[in-house]
């Protein structure tokens, strides 16, 4: 279980700007929670605060009642926080197998690694020895990124806009991946940042962030109807339009 208490985050440039304002919320075990809301509302920042990539200006973060506010990214990862980047990182020379083995944290067989790749819809044999570099497409990298989070087997897995940068066909597969994770969620929880209606549809709870504040938080049945037709719940046809038009949703 993850608990945020009065989390605020300020960036101090020429003038200070508050990105996250006094957020308190709980992500219980066995739940899939989706965070949505307009662009620039602070969703990715909140995910980074939970993973330890950013430190809150004030407030506390608890994982299973342990205060992890001052713990490093590494220590949080060891305690069970997994994080899939919105824009996966490329590594020259590091192969897909290496990355999955690092995620697992122990020596694994090729077969074990392939199982994680198959789970995200990649033909494992074609990828296992590939370098995690610019030769992979955005969609391939995204799925490998998700495979690393699957391999890590976390108490709380956070996915920052898994649909960003992938094509519609890959997106269909992705939904199946999350549905599969939802089935095996027992004893852990999942947090997905997304605007996609189909992802919102598999949520237990939905959190809406707007201008850095909590605008709404409740069960899917309660929140989803209020979002339909807004930028917080984009249907796939809109996704296609945005790809064709190249504009932001």
């Amino acid at each position: 279980m993850l608990r945020l208490e009065n989390i605020s985050f300020e960036v101090k440039d020429e003038e200070s700007k508050e990105i996250i304002h006094d957020i308190s919320l709980t992500v219980p075990d066995d739940k899939l929670v989706v965070i949505t809301g307009p662009n620039g509302g602070g969703k990715s920042t909140l995910a980074k605060l939970i993973a330890g990539i950013e430190k809150p200006t004030s407030g506390k973060i608890f994982l299973d009642d342990e205060d992890i506010t001052d713990l490093s990214i590494t220590e949080r990862a060891k305690r069970g926080i997994g994080f899939a980047f919105q824009q996966p990182v490329r590594f020259k020379g590091i192969q897909v197998f290496d990355l999955i083995q690092l995620a697992k944290g122990e020596k694994i067989s090729i077969g074990d690694a392939c199982a994680y790749l198959s789970a995200v819809g990649l033909c494992a044999r074609d990828y296992i020895n590939r370098e995690v570099n610019a030769s992979l497409s955005g969609g391939e990298l995204k799925r490998i990124e998700i495979a690393t989070v699957l391999a890590k087997a976390s108490r709380l897995s956070i996915f920052d806009e898994p649909e960003a940068g992938i094509d519609l066909w890959s997106f269909q597969n992705l939904i199946e991946v999350f549905e599969g994770m939802r089935k095996n969620i027992h004893g852990s929880s999942i947090m997905i940042i997304s605007h996609q209606e189909r992802i919102l549809n598999i949520a237990d709870d939905i959190i809406v962030l707007k201008d850095g504040s909590l605008a709404a938080h409740g069960s899917r049945d309660e929140i989803l109807p209020t979002l339909m037709g807004t930028s917080s719940a984009v249907m796939e046809c809109k996704m296609v339009n945005s790809v064709l038009g190249g504009g932001e949703q």
Partner: protein, 308 residues
């Protein structure tokens, strides 16, 4: 049976993946003496006068054979210059493994300058693997100055894999190549320097034959206070294609100078140079930290992958 001491064994493991004695043609040189030499039906190793090196003759058409010629220096203050000439017959396809390891526990500089010349016959194919390694905790420097010259006849192929990862204090690596028609040269260099080490890597490649091509890629890491210079010149003298790439990571107070040098002397020469120098990207470290690695473990993994 050749008797090797523990230091010799350890160095041979590092530079040639040799545990005892190799199969195929080989010569093991230690502090100026040949510890053992074997020729095969197709590959003849002939010593030059006064221990100054070897002539290695590979018969035309020799396939799937290998030559190992590791060198070990264990005496502090020992310096040598060695000439090894490889005569690779037409249509042969061979692997040559050379490497030099210096263990210097004393206070005098130890130095090995190996000059390797390859005469690659028509249509022949050679893969050359060279590993350099230094160890020992003496104040004396471990110095290696390898010179590689490659003369390629038409339709020949050469792939050079040159690695220097640890313990060599001072190095000037010089690689020269002249390519005939449709010859192709591929070079993969991996270099890591630390402490106060200095490494200079120079290439001069002449693409003389029509349709010849060269691809030189250097990946390097400069740590601590070390310095590297990558100086790659390709002369395109006819219809040919050439590519050089310096991809480098700097850490601590390390410094790297990359000097591109492309000279097109024919309107049909296509030459490309790329160079990128920078520290490890912060998001690479963060990604590995989210998998549970510490910052220094993450750095090691990134470098290991980069130099693989």
């Amino acid at each position: 049976m050749i008797e090797l001491n523990e230091i010799q064994k350890r160095i041979l493991r590092e530079v040639a993946d040799l545990h005892k004695v190799s199969v195929g043609a080989f010569n093991i040189r230690s502090d100026g003496q040949s510890l053992g030499r074997t020729s095969t039906a197709n590959i003849e190793i002939v010593p030059k006068d006064a221990g100054s090196g070897l002539d290695i003759y590979i018969k035309p058409g020799t396939k799937n054979e290998s030559v190992h010629i590791p060198v070990v220096l264990t005496k502090s203050g020992y310096t040598e210059v060695v000439y090894n000439d490889f005569h690779i017959g037409e249509g042969a396809d061979v692997v040559i493994v050379a490497g030099c390891g210096i263990d210097n526990c004393g206070n005098l500089d130890s130095r090995h300058d190996g000059i390797h010349r390859f005469y690659v016959g028509k249509g022949a194919k050679v893969k050359y693997v060279e590993k350099h390694y230094g160890s020992g905790d003496g104040k004396g420097k471990r110095i290696l100055n390898p010179e590689t010259e490659v003369y390629m006849e038409e339709d020949s192929q050469a792939e050079l894999e040159m690695v220097q990862i640890k313990g060599v204090d001072d190095t000037v690596r010089t690689t020269k190549a002249e390519l005939g028609a449709n010859a192709s040269l591929v070079v993969r260099e991996r270099l890591m320097t630390h402490g106060e080490q200095k490494a200079v890597s120079k290439y001069v490649i002449d693409l003389n034959g029509e349709g010849s091509s060269a691809d030189v890629v250097s990946r390097s890491v400069a740590r601590d206070d070390s310095y590297q210079k990558f100086d790659a010149v390709i002369n395109g003298n006819t219809a040919c294609s050439g590519h050089t790439e310096c991809d480098a990571i700097i850490m601590d107070r390390g410094r790297i100078l990359a000097v591109p040098g492309l000279e097109a002397n024919s309107v049909d020469a296509a030459l490309v140079h790329e160079a990128a120098i920078g520290k490890i990207a912060g998001d690479q470290i963060i990604k590995l930290m989210t998998l549970g690695l510490t910052e220094s473990e993450a750095e090691e993994q990134i470098i290991n992958g980069f130099l693989k």
